[in-house]
């Protein structure tokens, strides 16, 4: 890959944002007193789909774990294949993987696969898993040209080398080149709010979601997130679909709760997001979402499959909390001022420090908006093996 070099997103993001006055590490002048009013403008007259979140199987989360699926940081596609098939059958109760997939996808669909490349290369949606998803979709008769793998930022996809690693014929789309670059968003579908007195108060939905695809398969990763607590299915959809979201953070405060959940309720994003396949081959338990520090990245070899993103993220958070406890790191719920630092280097290498007061409550808030079930007692969490 010669056409470009890359400088890790932690640097590039800060630099780019800084130029636009949108640096999330900019300190808030004072603690916000309350959540501001948030206006949601969905696509007018859009008819909701029964496949939309929480989907066909509310509260059900399938977990499948296979240690040999990732060895020395390399994901094995031949092992991922039966894992995904088994999980899909368990989720749907169908006898075959093909029948399971057919509950969500038809041959005439335009299928978007929403990946998460933001931690690339250390932790991002594994190309090996994405290839298996593509193969499964194609097995239903969806032609390659009707499959779109996408994310917001082209340069992050570039670092993950998705362009080279995915099959020929499918489309690979970055909605925008970088922070602040225009284009690719629908002017009539947006969320409007002022969080910290910012001048640009709207976040627009990606046009590819509004107009191009009619089904979305969400492929989040399993990561701690310095602002939202964890980043999973909900955040990958919300902050990966709407633009101008960095403005919701002003260290050490963040409005990811409730904005993440609210964004996921906006049509047509809600209706089109029919299936969530969480890549837990790697698990970032501190420093997310962008860390490249391998000390904070475990390799459990896990997949979670669900139609309910709230239940999925609840299970994800439990897993990350468990790891953090085992490693002596504070809970993502902790709001101790002593744990807050403005020093990114310190944050990147000390699991007891954080940049923000994390907002893991965004998951339950999304549940309150009808996107799924956050109560562990109500979640049908099935752990299966190949």
């Amino acid at each position: 890959m010669d056409r470009r070099t890359f400088v890790k997103a932690g640097c590039i993001g800060s630099a780019s944002l800084l130029m636009q006055g949108l640096d999330p590490m900019m300190r808030a002048e004072s603690a916000p007193t309350a959540t501001p009013p948030i206006e949601l403008h969905g696509l007018p007259d859009y008819k909701p789909s029964p496949l939309g979140m929480p989907g066909l199987f509310p509260a059900r989360v399938i977990e499948i774990r296979e240690a040999s699926a990732i060895v020395r940081n390399r994901v094995s596609q031949p092992i991922v294949r039966p894992m995904l098939e088994r999980a899909m059958k368990e989720l749907t109760g169908e006898a075959s993987a093909r029948e399971a997939w057919a509950r969500f996808i038809q041959a005439s669909d335009i299928v978007g696969i929403k990946i998460n490349p933001s931690g690339a290369p250390a932790c991002c949606s594994s190309p090996e898993l994405v290839r298996e998803i593509i193969s499964s979709v194609q097995s239903l008769g969806v032609p390659a040209r009707n499959i779109v793998v996408y994310d917001r930022y082209s340069y992050e996809m570039d670092v993950g080398s998705y362009q080279a690693l995915l099959p020929a014929g499918i489309r690979i789309v970055g909605i925008q080149e970088a922070f602040g670059s225009g284009g690719g968003y629908e002017s009539d579908v947006y969320c409007d709010a002022t969080f910290f007195g910012e001048w640009e108060t709207r976040s627009y939905m990606a046009s590819i979601v509004v107009h191009e695809v009619n089904k979305i398969i969400n492929v989040p990763t399993m990561k701690d997130h310095s602002a939202s607590g964890v980043t999973g299915a909900l955040k990958n959809l919300a902050y990966g679909t709407f633009n101008n979201v960095a403005r919701t953070h002003r260290a050490p405060y963040s409005f990811t709760n409730p904005l993440i959940g609210l964004m996921c309720t906006v049509e047509p994003l809600r209706s089109k997001s029919v299936l969530h396949i969480m890549d837990g081959m790697r698990q970032v338990w501190h420093g997310g979402p962008l860390t490249q520090v391998q000390d904070f990245i475990d390799q459990p070899g896990v997949l979670l499959v669900a139609t309910d993103p709230v239940a999925m993220d609840t299970i994800e958070m439990e897993a990350i909390e468990k790891t953090r406890r085992e490693r002596g790191a504070p809970s993502v719920w902790q709001h101790d001022a002593k744990s807050i630092t403005a020093n990114t280097e310190e944050f990147q290498h000390d699991a007891s420090k954080n940049l923000f007061y994390r907002q893991p409550g965004h998951i339950a808030a999304a549940g309150q908006h009808g996107l799924g079930i956050a109560d562990l007692k109500q979640i049908d969490h099935r752990v299966v093996s190949v």
Binding site: D2, R3, T5, F6, V7, P127, A168, A178
Partner: protein, 350 residues
């Protein structure tokens, strides 16, 4: 096989990716110190994801907005610009008064070097991010449609098309009779340059977007399987491979009996070409995907800034804090470094 030396060019020219078709990355004295100021700054009007090239006092830069810019290197002003029909991520190449480059609309364009008028275009089935390589009057390039194309560089007339197993983002290395390239299907291919027929292919453990260098009968290339390979250019047999910490998208450069490349694990590596023995490795950032540039005893790499390291031991000689937003491969021309950025700025630094 003899060492490829590329065409003889005036010292200041930089007509293609990594300076010449030999992937030398320069091979001339470079600044012994960090640049201190921007001589000029040019706004390209769109992100730049490719590397500039240099010829006869003009810098040629493509932008994602689909524009090829010709910039006067003395004044930093535009001489002309050409609008392609799609986004451009490809580094252009120069050939006999033409600039060749690929576009996301699947076309490869040839544009007149002097006035920016289109001379010809060739369609492919998907985006073309790899740079065209010209050898003996024929331009060779791969496309994301999984095909390798050979066209007459002067006219754009098609010579042959060869389908291989995956998307192609690797720039071809063109030897006298063979072409070498990596492919998204994880294989390194050797094709007959006259027909496109596959002479051999060798599998690695994952896709390839690195571009090969060839020296002393060895094809040197990195793979996303974390390994750097040395493969017999004649037989395709793996001679040795070296494991890094993550995937390798960076293309290698050659200096004396060493090869240099970056890995996504953040290190720049120097290996002995004949054995694969590690000479040194130095951390230059969190992630490296750029190819290194080689000077007289100095290797330069774009990572978390621009680094210059001693080729003998990997010691960092200087580091220029050119901000994280720089996302292009630099052109090193004596005391001046030309760089383009993700934000669409082109800089002349001295």
């Amino acid at each position: 096989m003899k060492r490829e030396t590329g065409n003889s060019k005036p010292a200041e020219d930089w007509p293609t990716l990594l300076k010449d078709n030999a992937r030398s990355g320069g091979q001339k004295p470079y600044p012994a110190r960090s640049p201190e100021r921007a001589v000029w700054q040019f706004r390209a009007g769109g992100s730049v994801r490719s590397a500039p090239i240099l010829k006869d006092g003009n810098l040629y830069v493509t932008s994602v907005a689909g524009v090829l810019h010709a910039i006067d290197i003395i004044t930093g002003t535009s001489k002309w610009k050409f609008q392609a029909g799609g986004q451009v991520h490809a580094t252009p190449s120069l050939f006999a008064g033409q600039i060749l480059f690929g576009s996301d609309n699947g076309k490869v364009y040839a544009v007149d070097l002097h006035d920016g008028t289109q001379m010809w275009e060739v369609p492919t089935g998907a985006e073309v991010w790899a740079s065209p390589v010209i050898r003996n009057g024929v331009a060779f390039f791969g496309s994301a449609d999984a095909r390798v194309y050979a066209v007459e560089a002067a006219s754009g007339k098609m010579r042959w098309v060869q389908e291989i197993g995956g998307r192609i983002y690797s720039t071809i290395y063109a030897a006298e009779r063979q072409l070498y390239l990596g492919c998204g299907d994880g294989k390194v291919y050797c094709l007959d340059s006259s027909s496109g027929k596959t002479l051999w292919s060798t599998s690695t453990g994952n896709g390839i977007d690195s571009s090969p260098a060839v020296v002393d009968d060895l094809v040197l290339i990195g793979s996303e399987d974390f390994f750097f390979y040395a493969i017999s250019a004649t037989t395709g047999q793996v001679r040795w491979k070296y494991e890094t910490g993550l995937g390798i998208a960076s293309s290698p450069a050659i200096w004396s009996d060493s090869t240099f490349f970056g890995s996504k694990d953040g290190f720049l590596y120097a290996l002995e070409i004949q054995t694969g023995r590690l000479r040194w490795k130095t951390r230059v950032g969190e992630v490296v995907t750029a190819p290194p540039m080689i000077g007289d005893g100095v290797v330069c790499i774009q990572a978390s800034g621009t680094f210059a390291l001693d080729t003998a031991n990997g010691k960092i000689l200087w580091r220029a804090g050119l901000a994280g937003a720089i996302q292009s491969v630099p052109v090193l021309a004596g005391e001046t470094i030309y760089l383009a950025s993700l934000s669409g700025e082109v800089y002349a630094l001295r």
